[in-house]
């Protein structure tokens, strides 16, 4: 049995926000439960109230219109993995979600939960960081939109205020000539959080030869998923090549906020970044043409 709590099942977003506002710190929203229920069983968190938001259909699904893709926060990782829109137009996000957990976990876990739990090792979050996602939040006083990098306040903490719920993720598929990839290093082939995860999103010009802009995200290395700004700077405006990717890898390995990470010792984590980043960047580059064709 789980520890003592009281359950609420709001019928719509408005009711969920009202409940979470009223119950405050003593309540936790329950989405897929793949993290929360484990934390409760282990006694790491003891909410007095669970507000089960799984039934809020308005927070589910993937839609595309023009260059904008909107993902409901309660969309499961499995739905994203199987979405043609994600696979064709945001393959970096496909890379990330398809490598998470098991089929069972992906069928329950949601992309919003992945963001809100704010784990440094969150693959989906790292991919969204590389993509420059924007997040739609709904609170008791109305809604606001923020950049994903402004969402995390510290380890396992977000800027969500009392009663505020993450409702949607907004993504631009970018212009012709962009491509992205995500990969993580793990000891096992599945069912393991990243020792290090790297997401790279490139925008190019001159038929993919020159990097116009790059966004690079690292998972697991620091207290939360973070961008590697110096590595991005290394690529910007340069002619893309293996040598350039290697230099970006060195830059990211140097700048990463690698602390006392229990998953990998510091030297090893930096080495993994240096080796993994060029591989991921090459795959992102290979996808530039392919992705471009799918973008109107």
């Amino acid at each position: 049995m789980l520890p003592e709590f009281e359950l609420f099942e709001p019928r719509d977003l408005q009711e969920a926000v009202a409940l979470l506002t009223e119950l405050g710190e003593r309540a936790r929203p329950l989405a897929g439960g793949t993290d929360l229920m484990v934390e409760m069983r282990e006694g790491r968190t003891r909410p007095e109230y669970l507000v089960d938001i799984k039934g809020l259909e308005e927070l589910k699904g993937v839609t595309a219109s023009g260059g904008l893709i909107v993902i409901g926060a309660l969309t499961t990782l499995r739905v994203l993995e199987r979405s043609a829109i994600i696979r064709d137009r945001l393959p970096i996000l496909y890379d990330a979600v398809s490598q998470m957990g098991s089929v069972q976990i992906r069928g329950r876990g949601t992309i919003g939960g992945n963001l809100c739990n704010a784990h440094a090792s969150a693959d989906g979050t790292a991919a969204l960081l590389a993509l420059g996602a924007r997040l739609r939040l709904q609170g008791p006083k109305g809604s606001r939109e923020i950049a994903v990098e402004d969402f995390f306040s510290s380890t396992h903490k977000t800027v969500l205020s009392a009663g505020e719920v993450l409702t949607h993720i907004h993504l631009s598929t970018g212009s012709y000539g962009s491509g992205g990839a995500y990969s993580k290093y793990t000891v096992r082939k599945a069912m393991e959080p990243a020792l290090v995860g790297v997401g790279v999103f490139l925008k190019t010009e001159q038929a993919g030869a020159v990097c116009r802009a790059a966004r690079i995200a690292l998972a697991t290395t620091g207290p939360r998923p973070e961008r590697a700004l110096r590595a991005e700077e290394t690529l910007r405006g340069q002619r893309l090549s293996e040598e350039l990717f290697a230099r970006a890898g060195e830059a990211a390995a140097g700048e990463a906020n690698v602390g006392s990470n229990w998953r990998a010792p510091e030297d090893y984590a930096r080495h993994l970044i240096e080796v993994l980043l060029p591989e991921v960047a090459r795959r992102a580059w290979e996808r530039v043409g392919h992705e471009g064709r799918n973008i109107s």
């Binding site: 520890p3 359950l7 609420f8 439960g33 793949t34 098991s102 976990i105 069928g107 082939k189 599945a190």
Partner: protein, 160 residues
């Protein structure tokens, strides 16, 4: 609420459970209230997969699902695979290929495999391995389990 009445179908049979505590997980409801002991609980945190059942056709770790969430839904457990004394083709293949040693992981393994074949009747070996990545077996080394699923795929694709 602290409890709720749960009406669901387990293996096609209708059940009503009154006063189900919200603290109860689906695997506890299946074992303790429905009395179906085929579903095992291993790690209790979604790592081992032995508690896998199909909830409305989707594989879930029943240790991470609140029992009350199953209200109005359809659950398939390992007991629902065979008909009378006729084993499901997956079960038959597991027996014939020697895919079972201690057996603790097998109920979850069978249901993860069934979910895969329901969705993709001709999976590749890589797809089979990905589908059972969340089901740990500490005895067999998986080779015979994968072979059994491949063999079941062949027998299930034959017209019966």
């Amino acid at each position: 609420m602290k409890e709720k009445s749960v009406t669901l179908r387990i293996n096609g049979e209708a059940h009503v459970f009154n006063h189900v505590s919200v603290r109860k997980t689906l695997v506890q409801l299946i074992r303790d209230d429905a009395g179906l002991m085929g579903t095992k609980e291993g790690c209790g945190e979604g790592d081992c997969g032995t508690c896998t059942v199909l909830l409305n056709g989707q594989p879930v770790n029943s240790c991470l699902v609140l029992a009350t969430e199953a209200d109005g839904k359809e659950v398939l457990t390992v007991e629902g695979l065979s008909r009378e004394w006729e084993l499901h083709p997956l079960q038959q293949a597991f027996v014939e290929e020697g895919a079972v040693q201690c057996g603790f992981c097998i109920p979850g393994m069978l249901l993860a495999a069934k979910a895969l074949i329901d969705e993709n009747p001709t999976p590749t070996e890589a797809e089979i391995r990905a589908a059972i990545a969340g089901n740990l077996c500490r005895c067999t080394g998986y080779v015979r389990i994968v072979q059994a699923i491949q063999s079941a795929v062949v027998s299930m694709s034959r017209p019966r």
